[in-house]
Amino acid sequence: MTLTWLDWLLMFVYFAFVIGIGVALRREAVTSEDFFQAGRALPAWICGLAFLSANLGAQEIIGMAASGAKYGIATSHFYWIGAIPAMVFLGIFMMPFYYGSRARSVPEYLRLRFDEKTRAFNAISFALMTVFSSGISMYAMAKLLQILHVFDRPFSALGLGSGLVFHVCIAASALVVLAYVFLGGLSSAIYNEVLQFFLIVAGFLPLVYLGLRDAGGWSGIRATLPPSFTHAWQGFGAAATNPMGVDAFGVAMGLGFVLSFGYWCTDFLVVQRAMAADSMGAARRTPLIAAVPKMLFPFLVVLPGLIALAGPQVGRVGLGQQVGVERQEGPEGRIATGIAAVRPVGLIPYKVRETTGEIARNGNGEPELDYDLTVPTLLLRYFPTGILGLGLTALLASFMSGMAGNVTAFNTVWTYDIYQAYMRPRASDAHYLRMGRMATIFGVALSIVTAYVAAQFNNIMDVLQLVFAFVNAPLLATFLLGMFWKRATGHGAFAGLVAGTGAAALHHGLTLPPGAAAGVKGGWLAVVATYPSEMAQNFWTAIDAFAVCFVVTILVSVATRPRAEAELAGLVYSLTERPRDDRLAGYLPPAVLGSVVLGIAVILNIVFF
């Protein structure tokens, strides 16, 4: 499959608009508030779409379809349980403190509420995490595009090896993101996220349409796949009876509470979008508006995984050969419904070892499937030239929106919470604006370095991601206690964070998912317990860290001197005037909007029960 001039032209149009937005907004970034906070002047719906888009990286598109193919429609728990309630909570209960305290970042809120050391702990770990995660997703993206071989032709026409595709993908995507964030700052990133949101939907909706048509619609999928794949809650009564290896309590507590509230309510990458809103009402509505498309996203990103499974079996050797092969029944045939032991494989290609070109096999000699290629395989199978260009552009857009989210969060936290706080406290506003632009450049440069390190040493990256997971796990307890318990002190918060991080590391070091060797996957201290799946291990590590942080913060707080209540007005729930539900024309009050959103999420769970 090669691209034609039309595919390239569509990609070019996208790049032109993205950079054009940066150029158009360049003149509006006059003060540091314009650059880092978009002047706090954007309406709710723009912030809402950006909120969603910054989170919708390529890893989500690729990963959720992969997970859909592995676990079925239960993957929607990441949306209906793992996102919606937390987004509603953020909008109704937490935004009043983030926005009303006039903190410019999440770490800055921690300084206002607690103290410098708590802020420093959060700011430094967060800044490092943004750089690494954008580097890792850059690596994953470039790798994917290289494997697909769609960009090979112009390179071979110029007499260059296709190995160069990897480097060009990294350089081009990094430069484009750098250009528009450097020029227009947060406003430019947010405007582009809105554009990327529309493009991502435009690129993947026709894929779902064609795929569903081929699979015989939802009823066709239900007839082909075992029931556990098409029912979100089937088998969740116990950990052993569902493919995720987690019971309903683990899902509700681990995913629905600790992990999801921890991410959506404390991660500056998303909260920054809501903090850019033009009023308290708009800031509170931002996550609520985002929740509406968010809960429909499983139909866009999880469903392709099911479609690929239920799709016609094709003769499969590797990705390149199988695409375009005419419809034919493979030797496995269609699997009978209800037999979960025989895994359906559908269109998902085998994993091919990069170095030898052989198909990877597991311990039993069965070929392994490369679930991450689910979406690209569908794109190449169903999309002719033209719409294929649109689909690939949508993939690039999702990658860039995620990366720009990391870059803007990084330059703000670096400039306000590290540079201004500890290196150069009293410089002019113009100085910080300049520093923000510089931070954008070296943030992107560091991400590129990370991408290449990831290409060289996969294990180092796994370890780093693990360390960040430990640091993140207890954060929610700190914020909940800080916002809703006026007695919580700075020493308590800091001690709780350190203890919670330690507890996460300890829990991970003592447990192991099945079939894994002790090491990055866990059990590096001693194996005390094994979990039915890696996901179960993650959930319980997070629950543990949260509980330890919660208890330690309370104990240390009680033993240390509280701050005067007058200092905490606007920072703690009981000492803050309730925000009146302001009435914006055409919008429901936040509490009503939040209830409506939760109601629809419940209905979706019932429909796909």
């Binding site: 608009f17 554009l195 064609l210 030239t385 033209g386």
Partner: protein
């Protein structure tokens, strides 16, 4: 005055839609075997033009 975001988004969708629909109308029809016989470029191009036009109309109306 601040740029209305619906302007660039609407313009980009309409332009991409026009490219797709134009190709769907004039280009080789044989390529649509892949997309189950559906001229997906034409159909989706028209949808994108309509979406883009709506966004452009909204951005023009507010001023």
């Amino acid at each position: 005055m601040r740029l209305d975001v619906r302007l660039p988004v609407g313009a980009m969708l309409a332009l991409m839609g026009a490219l797709l629909a134009g190709y769907g109308l004039l280009g080789d029809r044989a390529i649509y075997g892949r997309s189950l016989g559906v001229n997906i470029n034409l159909i989706w191009g028209v949808v994108l033009i309509a979406t883009g036009a709506c966004l452009l109309a909204l951005s023009a109306r507010v001023k």
